[in-house]
């Protein structure tokens, strides 16, 4: 499956020139491999991690908008007492789907987008370990997300809350198909995450550039690696829970039926054993992103890199031992409650360590407040608030007053929006020039940032008060009577939260405007330099955007922040440090290109991942509507897996040849 054979004509040859014309293949397996290098087919059947990353990001952004619209409707309903914008039924679907969409169809895939795009680049690889599996993850996610949302048109979305407690999730209490779509949709997207996790773990462990030990890896890759390990072990647990739910709803099992002797808390335990690692899955990638951004714009390395790495791993480990803090009011005994309470406090330590490390990175630095940096600092501020409110819930007795109220809603929005999402936006602004070849506008970016900060604090800040003063969550109406007296009563704060939502929405909209301004036809934004931020890590030793093969020459790594050290040298003596720039970023890149590898292997595109992915929603529709569809989907899946396994592997037999050398030579396609 390696394809480009670049003949070693001269030692200094740039990786250009015509590639060997591929010979006619004698055996294509079941389907010809796709050959297009332009147009939609070059995206649909690609196995290039960069294109896959971009598609992950685009689809995730689409679901962000959907989830945001759902949130807007929720807040409109709650702007005043006894709202009538949404019926109780629609409201219950709305908050369930809002959360499910945001968690599973926005934050996780967006983090996957960054991980897919940048892990190979940051470790000096040309692609991930299993490129077709990577494409499979993408398409499974896309089809799963679409499948889940078709529920809106097929009887209503799921309406049991995003953690779908039993027995409310069983058929007598949730008679529509919404919960079935939810369970099956999440099974499908779970496959995407699990497969992606295996792929990226193997990539990180096995495909690092020579000289890059684990402790010289860029920190984003480290955090994303911890996340993949969490996914690897957490997804199977929710898989079990979802199967049990599916068997209950579709095949009459009684796993959650109290009349049959079941224990409703079984669901809660299974769900939260997944659910708690899940929240670290949501936030650690963003921690990784800002751990990249802060050093670059402070002109200092990350303070305490080993501590940041170990605290990330510690969060990953300890995160498995705190799940029942979601269940303090569920009827666990006092000993369990005490144990989980203390464990939850313990996990605040490695998290707090990161805040310290980030602050100390900035300390003594030379801070440049680009939009990416603003978002990174914003994350520190907002996540600190969310983390501190989290510590207050770790105190189990307090939590019995706080759980299921808006105080919890405030907490998790501060950590997820203020943590995970702000980090993602920091990543957008930081890495945009590398991915798309143009810098996003800093002017629009500032407006984007400040409106998002203002909006998010106006929306979620008051929720602390609303919750502590007694408003429970998941209620389609709130009443005047329970809103208290005075100007600043709960009614006032509910209205403020709704107004904040719209400011937040405008802020997010400005991000889309920024993209449009930058990329629209006739835009005056110039192409970005390869190293616009004077960055530190390996992914910047590439053109903007990177060539298909990423690196002209596989980098030799000798230390952390390899790129920085190639540009700058410490000429101070003894204790004094004086940094001299010896090369610009462009010069480093040029040097690499001048010593390009003569032989570059790249993986070939394939139809099979999409075909296999497509079979999954078919089977899922079959579970809900007609068993024949399960058989049909299963047959497609089996055929796809065989086709995949039998797909020709050899370069000479492949008919794909992207001569990606900046267009100097024409693209040559197979003539069979």
């Amino acid at each position: 499956m390696a394809i480009i054979e670049r003949p070693a004509e001269t030692p200094d040859a740039r990786p250009a020139g015509t590639a060997q014309a591929p010979t006619a293949a004698t055996n294509y397996g079941y389907l010809r491999r796709p050959v297009e290098t332009t147009g939609w087919r070059s995206w649909a059947f690609t196995v290039d991690h960069k294109k896959i990353g971009i598609m992950y990001g685009a689809v995730a952004m689409f679901f962000f908008i959907i989830g945001g619209l759902e949130a807007g409707l929720i807040r409109l309903q709650l702007a005043g007492p006894d709202g009538t914008i949404l019926s109780a039924d629609k409201y219950n679907q709305m908050f369930t789907m809002h959360a499910t969409t945001m968690v599973f169809l926005f934050v996780m895939p967006m983090a996957a987008a960054f991980a897919n795009y940048f892990i190979p680049l940051q470790i000096g690889a040309r692609d991930v370990a299993f490129p077709r599996l990577n494409a499979l993850s993408l398409w499974v996610f896309v089809f799963g997300g679409v499948f889940l949302n078709t529920s809106w048109f097929l009887g209503g979305g799921a309406d049991g809350g995003w953690f779908m407690y039993a027995p409310n999730s069983s058929v007598p209490f949730s008679p529509t198909n919404g919960v079935d779509f939810w369970a099956l949709g999440l099974q499908i997207t779970g496959i995407a995450s699990l497969v992606g996790a295996i792929n990226l773990i193997v990539t990180v462990l096995n495909m690092r550039a020579p000289g890059m030990s684990m402790m010289k890896m860029p920190i984003f890759t480290w955090m994303a690696f911890v996340v993949q390990m969490l996914l690897l072990f957490a997804i199977p647990v929710i898989t079990v829970a979802l199967f049990l739910l599916m068997f209950q709803r579709s095949f009459g099992a009684t796993f959650f039926s109290v009349e049959a002797g079941a224990d409703p808390l079984l669901w809660q335990h299974l769900f939260w054993i997944f659910g708690h690692p899940e929240v670290y899955i949501l936030v650690l990638p963003s921690f990784g992103i800002i751990s990249e951004v802060l050093p670059v714009f402070s002109k200092k390395p990350l303070f305490g890199y080993p501590f940041v790495v170990f605290s990330g791993a510690a969060i990953g480990f300890v995160g498995w031992g705190v799940w029942a803090h979601h269940m303090f009011a569920s009827g666990l005994g006092p000993v369990s409650v005490a144990v989980f309470s203390v464990a939850t406090m313990a996990i605040a330590v490695p998290t707090g360590v990161k805040i310290i490390n980030w602050t100390l990175t900035m300390w003594g630095g030379k801070l440049k407040f680009t939009t990416a940096m603003l978002f990174a600092v914003g994350l520190i501020v907002q996540f600190t608030i969310g983390g501190l409110s989290g510590v207050t819930h770790a105190v189990a007795p307090s939590d019995t007053q706080q759980t299921d109220t808006y105080y919890i809603v405030a907490h998790f929005h501060y950590v997820i929006f203020g943590g995970a999402v702000l980090g993602l936006f920091s990543g957008f602004y930081y890495w945009w020039p590398k991915i798309f070849g143009k810098l996003l506008s800093e002017g629009w970016g500032k407006w984007n940032f400040w409106l998002m900060i203002a909006g998010m604090n106006l929306t979620f800040g008051p929720m602390h008060i609303i919750g502590l003063q007694g408003q429970p969550r998941r209620m389609y109406v709130w009443t005047e009577f329970r809103a208290g007296e005075g100007f600043f009563n709960l009614g006032f704060w509910n209205l403020v939260a709704t107004i904040g939502t719209f400011i937040l929405a405008v802020g997010v909209l400005l991000f889309l405007v920024n993209i449009w301004i930058t990329h629209r036809p006739g835009s005056k934004t110039p192409p970005a330099p390869a190293d616009p931020w004077d960055a530190r890590s390996l992914e910047w030793i590439t053109s903007s955007p990177p060539k298909e093969y990423n690196f002209a020459r596989t980098p030799q790594v000798s230390e952390l922040d390899e790129f920085f050290h190639r540009k700058y040298e410490d000429v101070g003596e003894g204790d004094s440090h004086e940094y001299v720039q010896r090369m610009t970023g462009e010069e480093v890149i040029q040097h690499e290109e001048d010593n390009a590898d003569p032989n570059i292997h790249l993986p070939a595109p394939s139809y099979w991942p999409m075909v296999l992915a497509f079979s999954l929603p078919i089977m899922a529709y079959g579970v809900i509507y007609n068993t024949l569809l399960i058989v049909a989907g299963g047959a497609i899946a089996v055929m796809a897996m065989f086709g995949w396994a039998l797909e020709p592997a050899d370069a000479e037999q492949s008919d794909y040849d992207p001569t990606d050398d900046g267009g100097e030579t024409s693209k040559e396609l197979a003539n069979v």
């Binding site: 499956m1 390696a2 054979e5 070693a8 030692p11 196995v47 000096g124 690889a125 040309r126 370990a129 299993f130 490129p131 077709r132 699990l194 295996i198 792929n199 773990i201 193997v202 990539t203 462990l205 096995n206 495909m207 690092r208 550039a209 890059m212 690897l232 072990f233 957490a234 997804i235 199977p236 647990v237 898989t239 079990v240 829970a241 049990l244 068997f247 095949f251 009459g252 099992a253 009684t254 796993f255 002797g261 079941a262 224990d263 079984l266 299974l270 020459r553 596989t554 590898d597 003569p598 032989n599 993986p603 065989f642 396994a645 039998l646 797909e647 592997a649 050899d650 370069a651 000479e652």
Partner: protein, 226 residues
């Protein structure tokens, strides 16, 4: 071409169950033929094998969840339809022995593959698949017997958990059989280029895992009294 020596350890994108020695025939890479899932790997374990180990790690959690559910619900059944009334320990012991033996033949298949003895590889893979099939047949016989005696999937929480747990295991065995047969076919048609031993090893890892899970299930479900 000193550069190529340094750069050849470059990470190579490889897909599952695939190998590509042919294209390297003309290269002067000078790499050796070890760990072919990714020429040189930082960990010393090929991409494919590492992937299988990771997958099996996640499967531990899957079966862990199913076993926990079973252990919670193992006593929730009527007086007439519980383990004491239904289990036929000698029969299940025999089918467990069959599955264990299939692990032995699997080891022999891997050994043959490492020796590049393709004929015996195929034979041992075939015997493994047959023994696996025998195990599955035994399971089916057992389950239909239980069903006739009144234990259906939805009869009780005990029955639902039991059939879910053993059913998932049975499906894993069946998929393993398909993988074994497919491997035989691909060796036969020379579709596994390069290191066939690795492909056989990967299937072997999976097969042994499925066997170990069965040992745990057999112990917890059948042997330890409720």
């Amino acid at each position: 071409m000193s550069d190529s020596v340094i750069t050849e350890p470059a990470p190579d994108a490889v897909d599952v169950v695939e190998d590509h020695p042919a294209e390297h025939a003309g290269d002067d890479h000078g790499h050796d033929d070890h760990a072919h899932g990714g020429h040189h790997s930082s960990l010393g374990l090929s991409n494919n094998k590492l992937a299988m180990w990771l997958f099996l790690g996640s499967e531990c959690l899957l079966f862990g969840g199913l076993i926990s559910t079973y252990m919670l619900y193992r006593n929730r059944h009527s007086a007439e339809l519980g383990p004491d009334q239904l289990w036929d320990i000698p029969f299940t012991s025999a089918s467990s022995f069959v599955l264990l033996t299939s692990s032995l033949t699997m080891v022999l298949a891997v050994s043959a593959a490492n020796r590049k003895d393709l004929r015996n590889t195929k034979i041992f893979l075939g015997v493994t698949a047959l023994l696996g099939g025998l195990f599955v047949a035994g399971q089916i016989y057992e389950f239909t017997t239980f069903y006739r005696e009144g234990l259906g999937f939805t009869t009780s929480l005990f029955s639902s958990s039991f059939f879910t747990l053993t059913g998932f295991h049975g499906v894993h065995v069946s998929i393993g059989i398909i993988m074994l047969v497919a491997t035989i076919g691909m060796i036969q048609k020379d579709k596994i280029s390069g290191d066939k031993a690795e492909a056989v090893e990967m299937v072997g890892l999976y097969w042994h895992f499925v066997d170990i899970v069965w040992i745990i299930i057999f112990t917890l479900v059948y042997l330890i009294p409720a």
